[in-house]
Symmetry: C2
Subunit: 204 residues, 2 copies
Amino acid sequence: MARRIIGIDPGLTRCGVGIIDVAAGRKLRFVHVSVIQTHADQELSERLRIIGDGLEAVLDEFAPGAMALERVFAEQRNLNTVMGVAQISGIALREAALRDISTQLHTPSEVKAAVTGYGRAEKAQVGEMVRRLLGLKEAPKPADAADALALAICAAWQTPVSSARSASRLHGSAAAERVAAPTKAQEAWLAAERAAKSRGRRLG
Amino acid sequence: MARRIIGIDPGLTRCGVGIIDVAAGRKLRFVHVSVIQTHADQELSERLRIIGDGLEAVLDEFAPGAMALERVFAEQRNLNTVMGVAQISGIALREAALRDISTQLHTPSEVKAAVTGYGRAEKAQVGEMVRRLLGLKEAPKPADAADALALAICAAWQTPVSSARSASRLHGSAAAERVAAPTKAQEAWLAAERAAKSRGRRLG
């Protein structure tokens, strides 16, 4: 039975939403991607209403069992952006609890390390790896769409890999040829995870 | 016809909710106060669900026409707290838009200046002024409850006062005797408002 995971990349102007299924052997299947958009000249409450309604519609249609969201650190970027991200994540987390969807938070570097093997990868590299890992013809655009799918992939691989054998299955055969060696990616991901943990769960 | 205003002081552990009616002549009437509580050992999504459901219940019961929320500046305090505040404010603002409730955001110093005449007033002073302005027997407790009512009062007085005569009506007769002179309070409030505006609408 496949696990269905929704990744949400929250932003007031563009909120990326990506859904994947994870089957036995951690095989990934693309299900859905979309971007909910609002405009800076709309009232903040109205922007949050549009985004909340959009998220509810996707949750109703695809009924995921798990939700992955960006873990926000206020240091990491523009404060204005951070507040919008936190406001949207509050709405998304509440909707998850209302539907018994489990939730997990990942830092941007965890997500990048999970899909590219490198915690500081460029946007284009993340998009290209998402394309390969999900067997898509083109990288999802805009970047917010690719980031939402990358979050879902990161969450799919969250369970620690216990052996080299399962690690080698990690990226799937189609992607393996041009991917950084799975063990390397896995190491980078674990290092990012440890770093995030040692910083503590400072921010929700 | 009285305007009904809900003030929300968002916090994950204690979320204060206060409701007042504002009649002609800016006369204030206490309607409701409560605190929604969650525990640090609960999942973040579950805490946000409890708070969101609690806010919805109050909005359904009292049907306010306006909502006042704290405007968050990430500099102003513990980052962990700021993220929780932003997550709850996102949920509250969305619910406001879903019900056609107008929203306004006020900084803590605006609120303190509005009820005490001094932007850096202590918690106890805010509680005492809320008690007097609403004609309550005791100051609402905990401080989150008093702060929610103070937010609603600040929003009630948001419309600039154009004459000394209306300014003298501002605090009502019962409260006037031990209150800083209304013009002084009004000046402090306008100064706080100007300061907030000159900082720009950096954060939602």
